[in-house]
Amino acid sequence: MNYVMSFVVGGIICVLGQIVIDTFKKNNAYLLVLLVVTGTFLGYFGIYDKIIEIGHSGATVPLLGFGHALAEGAVEEAAAKGFMGALSGGVKKTAPGVAAALIFGYIVSIVFNPKGNK
């Protein structure tokens, strides 16, 4: 059941993203920024926790989930450490993903050569 819900909820979020792309026809970077910021505020207001309860990985894998993790980290650390926690919490919580992207990205760029725009 979790698998079905992951597929459906993940699919729906991607369709919303596709509608944004096709409507505004902007670079994908705009969409990624929009998703992360939206996810952060949905996370803050507790709405995204409910979506994760329903959709599992269907909600955590999309970039909205990255935003949710940012919010969750910031709120948790702010409660524990105050102002400094608000600064560090989100970064800490999302550090594995960012570091992984950087490190794997660098390794890949050493090993492979660009394929050209075909």
């Binding site: 990624l32 970039l63 990255f66 940012l70 910031a74 992207a101 990205g105 890949v108």
Partner: protein, 146 residues
């Protein structure tokens, strides 16, 4: 160039965005859903076989998806896939990973420091900037409204 009624219709249909949007949405749903399903599968493998707690398993699953995306981007397959899948590959964490890896690869010829390393956040930088900014605001809000 002259058009008769039928060939004109054909041209109009070709450029009608509505149909294309519907098709794009179907592909986005299928590919996006499949990637999230894969994420759930990876998460469950770690939870069931290694006894990883759910939160950690979720992080590991993201990291694995990022690693797969990095490899596929290097092989040049991810670009082909994303042309079909559209938002299906852009919206999941794979889109973020691809945004990091593809400029890193593209600017390789300008050197590893000034090319790859300094351009690696060319696309993903805005995402992190606004993401961290929003998370700081949220942290402050949570302090103000306990």
């Amino acid at each position: 160039m002259k058009y008769d009624k039928n060939s004109y219709k054909q041209v109009v249909n070709e450029y009608t965005p509505k149909n294309k949007m519907l098709r794009n949405c179907v592909y986005a749903f299928i590919f996006g859903g499949a990637i999230c399903l894969l994420g759930e599968v990876i998460k469950n493998i770690f939870m069931n076989n290694f006894g990883t707690p759910e939160q950690d398993a979720s992080t590991i699953s993201s990291v694995v998806l990022i690693a797969i995306t990095a490899l596929l981007t290097g092989l040049g397959w991810f670009d082909k896939l994303s042309k079909i899948a559209g938002a299906g590959t852009a919206v999941p964490i794979t889109g973020f990973a691809n945004a990091v890896v593809s400029p890193a690869l593209e600017f390789k010829r300008e050197g590893f420091i000034l090319g790859t390393a300094s351009n690696i956040f060319k696309l993903a930088g805005p995402v992190l900037l606004f993401g961290y900014f929003a998370s700081f605001i949220v942290g402050i809000l949570s302090l103000m409204f306990k």
